[in-house]
Symmetry: C2
Subunit: 229 residues, 2 copies
DNA sequence: TGCATATTCAAGCGTTCTATTGAACAGTTG
DNA sequence: CAACTGTTCAATAGAACGCTTGAATATGCA
């Protein structure tokens, strides 16, 4: 038995937050947001990459638009959607963090897709130091479109498809960190396996480019260092 | 037209994240989580404070339990629910951040409930410095149960109901920062208005106790200072 | 043992959500 | 102007959701 207490929310504060949070409660929309976090895309492109119908994708985008999470602009015959704010990507990332922390179902699914042994044992700060001191190289295996639109500072762009051909140029004395779209993307794992098959020391970076950008910024804020790249 | 690209999610990675995110897409559950972020509570207490039926509250809690966001333990005749992890509170806080950033509806609702002019113009770090150097006092106006369970480091606990009686003891030369449950809670605003009516310089702290704890920790990590309190 | 209390369960009802289908609506290009 | 393309809209069926009601379960206490 507890004494009653004014809930102090006459207005729809919780309702507005919930309606935006509910937008993140659909796999289809999470996929869309993850893709938009890499680079702007047309409806058709999103539909193709999420394997959903165009109409369905358009409807999801409509909701995301109404929820002020994405913006549209016309470009010729198509409409290009983009995240309304980089911080939207970070919130999505936070949800993946949460699932990793607190959902056994997620961890099982993740084990199947991404593997564990490829993960980098180093923190982002440690990796960054290794890279800055030339003992390691950070490879971004995403499409060039994506790595141009949302570049990872200090990373070399080698799309996964070209990685095998580039292997010959890689130094055997360095450590390789591989980054892709983030947790829910298997590309980095594939890249790591490719590198390891050639005897190179390679690890997967768990964080998404957006999260890396944020961390880089806060690292710079707390202890400024000279920028490589 | 974009070249097709393996979506690389055979397993239900997005589905698992979405199912957890969907839990946060309901106002009733957000209220529950906000309350649990302050202190553990029984089903009945939660039902009373959220003004929902007990059965309904129980069902929401069941979902939250299945989603591994809360834990239960028996205590005599009632069952006490608590957040499974402090980081769950931070994710909820993040969603409120997002709404504040990106939902005009939220900002309107917030203006009605919480007011703007009471907000502290200082960052958390600045406030903490003021407090450590004795120019300011941080007042936690939550119930003593809550302020004991999730204390705010450096804060004095004066429940809102007792604030008026305590006014006489407050120094006129100091600045007062008032903290409550966070963004969606009007108590701090009421406290600030009370203090200002007496001519004291007072501001509302937007962050929740959980967020303050996190920030305090990372501040300590980056530039260690001696701990007051 | 039996009653009171706190919580959960089961069923039901109205609403909302997702994905599908087919049509409508621009802009673009010949 | 007409054909085409990319996108949105409208209508729909099926599932899921949120809340209510009433009953069932389990613990504490006389």
């Amino acid at each position: 038995m507890v004494k009653q207490q004014q809930s102090s929310s006459h207005a729809g504060l919780f309702e507005t937050v919930a309606s935006q949070a509910a937008l993140l409660g659909s796999p289809a929309r999470l996929k869309i947001l993850l893709l938009l976090a890499q680079s702007p895309r047309s409806v058709e492109a999103l539909a193709l990459e999420t394997r959903e119908s165009v109409a369905n994708t358009s409807q999801h985008l409509k909701k995301l638009r109404e929820g002020e999470l994405v913006n549209v602009e016309r470009s010729g015959v198509s409409r290009i959607y983009r995240l309304a704010d980089e911080r939207v990507a970070l919130v999505v990332e936070t949800l993946f963090d949460l699932a990793e922390l607190r959902s056994t179902a997620y961890r099982e699914a993740s084990r199947l897709l991404v593997g564990q042994e490829e993960l980098s044992p180093l923190s982002v700060e440690q990796m960054r130091r290794e890279i800055q001191e030339d003992r390691a190289v950070l490879i971004d295996v995403r499409d060039t479109v994506e790595s141009c639109e949302t570049p990872v500072s200090g990373a070399v762009s080698i799309p996964l498809g070209e990685l095998e051909a580039e292997l010959i140029k890689l130094s055997r004395t360095k450590t390789y960190f591989v980054v892709c779209r983030g947790r829910a993307c298997g590309q980095a794992t594939q890249g790591v396996r490719l590198l390891r098959k050639k005897g190179l020391q390679a690890y997967r970076v768990k964080e998404s480019p957006a999260a890396l950008r944020l961390k880089a910024r806060s690292l710079l804020a707390s202890k400024p260092r000279k920028d490589t790249t």
